[in-house]
Symmetry: C2
Subunit: 259 residues, 2 copies
């Protein structure tokens, strides 16, 4: 399992913590922070700060994408919904990415609901047309945005495999890790009911799985919160559905920051 441990060392959060270039101090979004001054300059005039509350919709499935969001704080769930009311999480986006990638891929509508999952979400938003214009001007900017979409896609593939092959306990460990990677704290604020949506299971199965993770001392579960206690143990539990997309993210989007 030495490969997995090495991923921890190169995890996106660590890379950002270590970073101290001036631009990257100013913006909390890692993608924006990784842009060249020129590329950032293309976007900067159009960026405006916005904030979200828990449950706020950032985009709605089927709606035209009018703006894209670079999250700086908080974490968003990407949900695919069936015709009935049930919705299932297909991914998470935090400060490591942006919301609205279908635009860069040639679609003007969002296939997903994207909702804020954290208490105070903050983002930099810009109009769709401005982004498309910027992307047409700068191949490197386009590359960065496309690479994020690609990593997200790889992530989704692992979600498929995970839901086909793994028990609820393992899948839960994976989602906790994905969440943990994207918030800047060991405290994950999420009720069992919210976990239920991500995993597509019934609420009490979440309770049971959390208990088992707690027995293994990987986490501590308190009311409406999960405290990450032992990341290494979580990774061992999650197995091989966690790790590879994270490596891809570092390889494709933080090549110059790996020291």
């Amino acid at each position: 399992m030495s490969t997995i441990v090495s991923i921890t060392g190169a995890t996106p959060r660590a890379a950002v913590d270590r970073d101290d270039a001036p631009v990257e101090r100013m913006v909390g979004n890692w993608l924006l922070a990784s842009l060249s001054p020129d590329d950032f300059g293309l976007l900067a005039p159009h960026l405006e700060p916005v904030s979200f509350a828990v449950g706020d919709f950032i985009t709605r499935a089927g709606d035209p994408i009018e703006s894209i969001c670079f999250l700086e704080q908080g974490i968003a769930g990407v949900l695919d919904s069936l015709d009935d009311d049930r919705r299932y999480a297909v991914g998470l986006v935090g400060a490591e990415g942006f919301i609205g990638w279908p635009l860069v891929m040639g679609d003007d509508r969002s296939p997903y609901d994207v909702t804020m999952r954290a208490e105070r979400g903050q983002a930099l938003r810009m109009p769709a047309e401005a982004l498309l214009a910027a992307v047409d001007q700068s191949p490197t900017l386009r590359l960065t945005l496309l690479r994020f979409a690609h990593v997200f896609m790889v992530q989704m593939g692992r979600t498929v495999v995970s839901s086909l092959a793994h028990s609820i306990e393992r899948r839960m460990a994976r989602w906790i890790l994905l969440y943990h990677d994207r918030v800047q704290a060991d405290e994950i604020c999420m009720t069992h009911e919210e976990f239920r949506l991500m995993l597509g299971v019934r609420r009490s199965s979440v309770t049971d799985a959390l208990h088992r993770l707690e027995e293994e001392h990987a986490i501590r579960a308190v009311r409406a919160k999960v405290l990450v206690h032992d990341r290494t143990k979580l990774m061992a539990l999650a197995g091989d559905t966690y790790g590879q997309p994270e490596q891809d993210y570092v390889r494709l989007l933080q090549m110059d920051r790996r020291r």
Copy 2:
């Protein structure tokens, strides 16, 4: 369910059947066929025909992408593998798309195994560098390729939802439809063992599910084959995890062909 029936009418296969422009006679790949003469001209000099046998690898997970393939005949399974030997299908690609899209998204390695699932697979292949050069020259070509990747991604999202929410029988109906869309016949050559991989279930569960689909007269299952008998019934069984990505495909990639 009238919306679903209307999708059938606008299904990619139908659009191609109706088509009779000269270029589109010559190439069996729908993406290539939909390109403008100029865009097609950028690719044509580099395209060389190749053929594949069942089980042949078109790309291997982790390997550099040296060429991309536009399938003309046959159908390929996109597989994500765990560290052990188990592999699970995350999608299918036939003549409606191409293999190697990570290249266009800024990655030079394939995250997936892609293997030929049909008896005689035929494709037009071109070197990675040539494709990248062509894409840099033509924004519209890039758009087409990205849009395919996007629809494939939406497809994957539905696969997640389907595996979380639906019974084996429903998921099976969905995969049969996806397969049926991509081959030009009502005869699907696939053993229960191969279905097993796509669905991530045990082989005898496939047998049972096929029997239930057969009881409803949606299909007929014979040795190593499934005969699609009633597409409408399959769509009703598959429910809402089938249909929307197919509509997106038509909307984004065949806008000018819908009559």
